[in-house]
C-alpha cells in the first residue's frame, strides 16, 4: 500500500504523469558494473589472486563504509543502488596490484565517507569519490601506489609502465606489436589493475553509450582534445605527437568513459558537457607533456569537477521561444 493513498478518496491520488519509465538508478548503476566486467575479468586473469584481492577488498570496504555510515547516522541504507560497488571497482582499477590491502580500506573510507557521504551521499559529492581516493593515496603513500611493476614482486625484473616508457623515449615509434599489447593487454601486468586491456574498457564505454547510460559528449571531447593537444605539442616539439598510440596508454580511456561521465560531478547541460570534456582533455595533456606525473587524468578530472557548478551556471540551454541574445 503506498503511503500517498488519500484516506478520503476511493482511489490512489498522485500528481501527473501517471506513467514512469522503467529506468531506475539501480539499473543505471548495474549497467556501469556490466560495462566494467570484461576489463575486470582480464584484470583478474592478469593479476591473479593478488589483483582479485585488491578489487575485492576495495569493493567490500566501499559497500561496508556506505552501510555503516548510513546505519550510524540513522539514514536510509542505499547500498542496493550499487553506486558504492562502482566506486570500489574504480578505485582498484586505478591502483597497481602490488599495494598493501590495507591501503584499499583507507581509500574506500576516504571515498565513501569523506567525499561522498559527508557531502550528502549519492548525487551530492562535488568530486568523483574514486579519483579523490586515488589522489589521496598518491599524496599519502606515493611509494606504495606508484610501484606499477607487478612482476617485480615475483621475479624482480623492473620495467616501467608503457606510458612511462613512452614518455621517457619520445622518439620511439610504436609498432603493431606495441599497439596490440596496449589494446588487448592479455598477460600484461605493467600498469594499474584496470589499465591493461584498453580495448575492453572501450567496449564497456560503447555498451554505456548504447544503453544511453552516458552520452557521447564528455568521452568524445575529452579523448579528442587530449589527442589534439598531444599531437600539436608533441613530446619532441611542435606536431611530433603520436596520439594514435598515446591515447590508449594509461588511464585515459577508463577515465573518459567511467570517471569523467560520473553523473554527480559532470555538467548537466549539453554545452557544459562539451566544455567539461575539453577542459579535462587539455589539462590531461598539459600534465602528461609538462607535468611532474606521467599520467594527468586524475588531477584533470578533479580540477574540472570543481568547476562543474560554474559550468552549469554559464551554459544554460536556450529556452524554447527565447529571443537570441536577449532575455525573453
Amino acid at each position: 500500500m503506498p503511503q500517498n493513498k488519500n484516506p478520503a478518496s476511493n482511489y490512489l491520488i498522485t500528481s501527473k504523469p501517471h506513467m514512469r519509465s522503467n529506468i531506475t538508478t539501480q539499473r543505471l548503476m548495474l549497467d556501469v558494473i556490466i560495462a566494467l566486467l570484461p576489463a575486470l575479468l582480464v584484470a583478474i586473469i592478469n593479476f591473479g589472486a593478488r589483483g582479485t584481492a585488491v578489487i575485492a577488498v576495495s569493493v567490500i570496504s566501499c559497500v561496508f563504509f556506505e552501510w555503516a555510515y548510513q546505519k550510524i547516522m540513522k539514514k536510509p541504507v542505499t547500498i542496493n543502488d550499487f553506486s558504492a560497488v562502482i566506486t570500489g571497482i574504480l578505485i582498484a582499477f586505478g591502483i597497481p596490484a602490488t599495494v598493501p590491502l590495507w591501503t584499499m580500506v583507507v581509500a574506500a573510507f576516504f571515498a565513501i565517507v569523506i567525499v561522498k557521504q559527508l557531502f550528502g551521499g549519492i548525487g551530492q559529492n562535488f568530486v568523483n569519490p574514486a579519483l579523490a581516493a586515488r589522489a589521496f593515496l598518491l599524496a599519502a603513500y606515493p611509494a606504495l601506489v606508484t610501484m606499477y611493476d607487478f612482476g617485480l614482486a615475483y621475479d624482480a625484473i623492473a620495467a616501467p609502465t608503457p606510458l612511462v616508457q613512452f614518455a621517457e623515449a619520445p622518439l620511439y615509434t610504436p609498432g603493431f606489436a606495441d599497439m596490440w599489447n596496449i589494446l588487448w593487454g592479455f598477460g600484461q601486468t605493467r600498469g594499474a589493475i584496470g589499465e591493461v586491456a584498453t580495448i575492453l574498457i572501450i567496449a564497456g564505454g560503447a555498451y554505456l553509450l548504447i544503453r544511453k547510460v552516458i552520452n557521447w559528449r564528455i568521452p568524445v571531447f575529452f579523448i579528442g582534445s587530449t589527442a589534439i593537444m598531444l599531437l600539436i605539442f608533441g613530446r619532441h616539439g611542435f606536431m611530433t605527437g603520436q596520439p594514435h598510440y598515446e591515447i590508449f596508454l594509461g588511464a585515459l580511456m577508463l577515465s573518459a568513459f567511467f570517471m569523467a561521465t560520473d553523473y554527480s560531478t559532470s555538467p548537466m547541460t549539453a554545452l557544459g558537457q562539451v566544455v567539461f570534456g575539453i577542459g579535462c582533455g587539455v589539462i590531461t595533456a598539459i600534465i602528461r607533456l609538462w607535468g611532474g606525473f606521467p599520467e594527468g587524468v586524475t588531477y584533470a578530472i578533479l580540477l574540472m569537477n570543481l568547476l562543474v557548478p560554474l559550468i552549469d551556471k554559464l551554459t544554460k540551454p536556450r529556452v524554447y521561444g527565447a529571443i537570441k541574445g536577449g532575455k525573453t
Binding site: 554527480s264 558537457q273 521561444g321
Partner: protein
C-alpha cells in the same frame, strides 16, 4: 529538408492498441438522469446562467452565456428541468457553480438548433458569431474559446492553419477515431477555414502510429494544393502546440507570445470536426468523444457521451470495470488528473477516462537526484527541470521565474524519464500555481 521533429523528444510506449479499432459508440442519458453543467468548462471567465430552478430546457438550448471577452456559452445536452444551481465537484478537483438538469428522456430539440445551408457566402464575422454562440472551445484539452483563437489581430497575416491530429498522449484514440469516422466534417471545415483565411495554407499533422488516418487524409486532400498532410514520428509531446509548430513550420513561438504572432493558428482535429457540425447542422457543443482505456475497464473503447453526464454513468453504461480500479485518471496517463471519485460531470475539455488496476497503478518511491541530466535532455522547452524543481521545493519563486519555470508546458517528460522517480512535474506545477496566485 529538415526532418519533421522537435528538440528533446521522448519516445514512450503509446498503449493505443486496446482502443484504436473501437468505433465511436454513442451513450445517451436516460430519463431521470441528472446532468451537471459547471459554468466554467473553458479558459477565461465563468459563464452566467440564463436559467433558474424549475425552468424547462430543451436539447441545444443555451443555459449559460459567455461573460467578458474570453469565455464560452454552455448549452443543455438534453431536454428536461433545471433542478438546482449550486457548486459541484468538477473533474479538476475544485467546486464550481453548476447548473443541474434532470433529463426527461425525450431529447426534444430547441428551435435554435438550425444549420446554415449556404456556407459559401458566409462572412468571417457571421462565422465567428455562430462559433461563439455554439460555445466551441479547444477540444484538445486546453479549452481556449475557439472564436477568440480565430480572431487574430490581423487575419490576413495568418499563414498556416495547423490541424493537430498528433494525439501524442498515450492511451488516447478518440482523435484517431474522429479522423477515421468524420472525414466529411473535417474536409468541409478545412475548406471553410481556408476561405475565411484566404492567405493561409492548411497543414494537417498526424502521428504515423495512426497510419490509417494519415493515408485517409493524404488521399482526401490530394487534389487540394492548399492543404498538406504531414505524418509525424510518434514522439512525446508531439501534440503540444509549441512543439507541433516547431515540427511543422520550423519556427518557435516567441516566449510569452501566441502562435498567431508568427502567423499560425493551431486547432485540434476534434475542434475542426466540430466547426462543420456547428455551421451546417447548427449543433452547439453538447457532446464529447471520450476514450475509456486502462486494464481495469471491461470494455475499453471510444464513446460519445453527452456533456454533463457523470463519469459514473458513462463508465457503467460502457460496461463498468473488469478489475477493481486502483487509480482513475481524467485526461490521460501523462497529462491527466487522478480522480477522487466518479461523481463528477463530463465537461468540454475532457477526453478520456483511464483506469488502472493495482498491478500497474503504483509509482515507485522518490529517491535522491543523481544528476543524470536526463530531465534536461528531454525537456522540450529547454528548461532545467532539476533546478526549477529544487527552487519550487525551496519556495524560491523569484528564482523559479528567472529560470523560466513558467514556460513549462507540463508535459511530464521530466518525471517520466527520471531514474530516481522524483516528482519533478508535481513541484513545478506547485511553483507555477503559487506564482499565478501571487
Amino acid at each position: 529538408m529538415k526532418p519533421f521533429t522537435f528538440k528533446n523528444r521522448l519516445h514512450i510506449e503509446k498503449h493505443k492498441g486496446d482502443t484504436e479499432d473501437m468505433r465511436i459508440q454513442p451513450i445517451s442519458p436516460m430519463e431521470g438522469d441528472l446532468l451537471t453543467y459547471p459554468l466554467q468548462q473553458h479558459v477565461g471567465a465563468p459563464a452566467n446562467p440564463l436559467v433558474k430552478k424549475g425552468d424547462r430546457v430543451l436539447l441545444g438550448e443555451k443555459i449559460a452565456e459567455a461573460m467578458g471577452r474570453i469565455s464560452a456559452n454552455i448549452h443543455s445536452g438534453v431536454s428536461g428541468t433545471v433542478m438546482d444551481i449550486k457548486p459541484m465537484l468538477a473533474p479538476h478537483g475544485q467546486f464550481i457553480e453548476s447548473i443541474i438538469i434532470e433529463s426527461d428522456g425525450k431529447m426534444e430539440e430547441h428551435p435554435s438548433v438550425r444549420g446554415i445551408e449556404d456556407t459559401y457566402h458566409l462572412t468571417r464575422e457571421h462565422f465567428l458569431h455562430i462559433i461563439k454562440e455554439a460555445g466551441l472551445v479547444g477540444l484538445g484539452g486546453a479549452g481556449f474559446p475557439t472564436h477568440i483563437k480565430l480572431s487574430p489581430h490581423d487575419p490576413d497575416k495568418i499563414e498556416y492553419i495547423l490541424v493537430n491530429g498528433a494525439e501524442c498522449e498515450p492511451y488516447h484514440t478518440h482523435d484517431h477515431r474522429v479522423m477515421l469516422e468524420k472525414p466529411g466534417n473535417i474536409r468541409e471545415s478545412m475548406e471553410l477555414l481556408l476561405r475565411l483565411f484566404p492567405f493561409a495554407r492548411g497543414i494537417m499533422a498526424i502521428e504515423t502510429n495512426k497510419m490509417e488516418s494519415v493515408m485517409l487524409y493524404k488521399k482526401l486532400f490530394a487534389s487540394n494544393d492548399r492543404i498538406e498532410v504531414i505524418g509525424l514520428p510518434p514522439t512525446y509531446p508531439q501534440g503540444s502546440e509549441k512543439q507541433l509548430i516547431e515540427t511543422c513550420i520550423k519556427q518557435q513561438v516567441p516566449m510569452g507570445g501566441l502562435p498567431s504572432d508568427i502567423g499560425v493558428i493551431v486547432l485540434n482535429v476534434s475542434t475542426v470536426a466540430a466547426i462543420d457540425a456547428i455551421i451546417r447542422r447548427g449543433r452547439p457543443i453538447t457532446r464529447r468523444i471520450m476514450t475509456l482505456s486502462g486494464d481495469a475497464f471491461a470494455n475499453p473503447g471510444n464513446y460519445e457521451a453527452v456533456l454533463g453526464m457523470s463519469y459514473k454513468d458513462l463508465v457503467e453504461r460502457a460496461g463498468g470495470f473488469k478489475l477493481r480500479p486502483y487509480k482513475i485518471m481524467s485526461g490521460g496517463a501523462m497529462m491527466g488528473w487522478a480522480l477522487y471519485n466518479l461523481d463528477i460531470p463530463i465537461i468540454k475539455t475532457d477526453s478520456m477516462i483511464l483506469a488502472f488496476s493495482e498491478k500497474i497503478a503504483n509509482i515507485q518511491p522518490e529517491q535522491p537526484c543523481i544528476r543524470c541530466a536526463k530531465c534536461v535532455e528531454f525537456c522540450p522547452m529547454g528548461l532545467l527541470p532539476y533546478e526549477i524543481n529544487t527552487l519550487a521545493l525551496e519556495d524560491n519563486l523569484e528564482g523559479f521565474k528567472k529560470l523560466h519555470g513558467m514556460a513549462c508546458v507540463e508535459c511530464g517528460s521530466c518525471s517520466y524519464i527520471c531514474p530516481s522517480k522524483r516528482h519533478l512535474m508535481q513541484s513545478i506545477l506547485m511553483g507555477k500555481t503559487k506564482i499565478r496566485r501571487m
